[in-house]
């Protein structure tokens, strides 16, 4: 039989899909079976490489469980490479834990197969298809216990995906950084929209920093600002600095709608 990894590369029609395995242990058993390997004496290095190759071929996007197993196999591979003295006392085969898990899982798989057959056999017998309307009696009293209720709440909470908690870092306004970005833009171009200094997905902090920086540059007389129409972005015009800039004058003269909202 061809090893699955070789087959993957050789024949595009042969596809091993990750969802055909019910987990990394299942995939591992599959590889061992394909290679007719004794579970008790696994050539870890070879199997680890094959395992990695297969999960690589299959795409890793949703395979956290497989990645964890890949990590274990690689650690094991490294452990097997460590030198050991002949007949050393107390040497424990680093593979024994993996062997135990594989055997346990293999047993579960056999039980699962037994259950499946039992269910199939049972499915050959049909219950009565027509069930009479329930009698027109008051429904039996409903049993609701506080303990069961609280457990239900806890189950729901446990099943809610936990939001990733981020460390909250105090974030001061970065006017200095915004100034540097604006100065670069001013050196390159006569006129540009202040929005260009913001980047693709600005945070509110960056918007504020940039706005303050623009105003600061205008105050220093390095640029002048204009807003063509209400709600339109401010335009930043390059200005040669005067020795004695009139503070704020540029702003009021060049912004036709001083009360106009800034987009």
């Amino acid at each position: 039989m061809t090893p699955p990894t070789a087959a993957l590369g050789a024949d595009p029609g042969f596809v091993v899909r990750l969802d055909q395995f019910s987990g990394p242990l299942d995939l591992l058993l599959h590889l061992l079976r394909e290679e007719q390997i004794d579970i008790a004496d696994i050539p870890v290095a070879r199997i680890a490489d094959q395992f990695l190759e297969v999960i690589h071929e299959l795409g890793l996007n949703q395979a956290a469980d497989y990645l964890e197993m890949a990590g274990r196999l690689l650690r094991l591979k490294a452990q097997m490479l460590l030198p050991r003295r002949e007949g050393e006392e107390g040497w424990e085969d680093p593979r024994s834990e993996l062997v135990r898990r594989l055997l346990e899982y293999q047993q579960i798989k056999e039980i699962a197969r037994w259950l499946e057959r039992a269910a199939e056999r049972r499915a050959l017998q049909f219950p009565r298809g027509y069930l009479p309307e329930p009698p027109e009696l008051p429904p039996p009293p409903l049993a609701l216990e506080l303990l069961g209720f609280v457990q239900a709440v806890e189950r729901v909470i446990a099943a809610i995906p936990q939001p990733v908690l981020h460390r909250v870092v105090p974030r001061p306004l970065d006017t200095e950084g915004a100034l540097r970005r604006l100065e670069v833009l001013l050196a390159q171009r006569e006129v540009f929209s202040w929005v260009e200094a913001l980047g693709a997905h600005p945070t509110i902090v960056e918007v504020l920093s940039t706005l303050l920086a623009v105003l600061e540059l205008a105050r220093r007389g390095l640029c002048r600002l204009a807003q063509p129409a209400p709600f339109e972005p401010l335009l930043v015009y390059r200005e040669t600095p005067c020795p004695a800039p009139a503070v704020g004058e540029e702003l009021t003269t060049h912004v036709p709608q001083t009360t106009g909202p800034v987009a």
Partner: protein, 196 residues
Amino acid sequence: MSLRPLAQLLEAALFAASRPLTVEELQTLEGEATAADVRAALDELREHYDFGGHAVEVVELAGGYQVLTRRAFAEAIERAQFAARPARLTAAALETLAVIAYRQPVGRAEIEEIRGVSAGGVLRTLQERGLIEVVGRSDGMGRPLLYGTTALFLELLGLRDLAELPRAEEFSVALQPPRPAAADADEAAASVPAES
């Protein structure tokens, strides 16, 4: 006297089907059978039920045939109340009820977001059971219905009012729809290309 093969087939089909079956449908069970064969086998089955003292009979109904329990036994069965399972809520119903109890008034969309599964059938069951009721409409898109728990709900749990729900504050805070990580401000900040 034992039932003959075609009568056996008809018995199996009439037992397993959820509705009356017509003679034409019953013919499909056995390729060679004519309508007359099927009618003869139906008669055989009917006689078998009648003379064997069975509690069921072959009834002609809605253009087809069905095996039903005889009327004489209906009363005894009703008295025994087998038809309904002992009334306990399923895990899904209980969990939905829990979300409503701690988040009310709450709409279906939020319940589904929190539990991660659709809630339509369960909401109907809970409403039929009188454990929840529509308490209003949200102002949001489509003005969805909002649900809340009923007096019966409190009664069954032995509570005087909602304030007596166990760990009310802790649970009402914990039962939030999951927040997508992308909405996080830190992530947004990280995606701004570094410049200078």
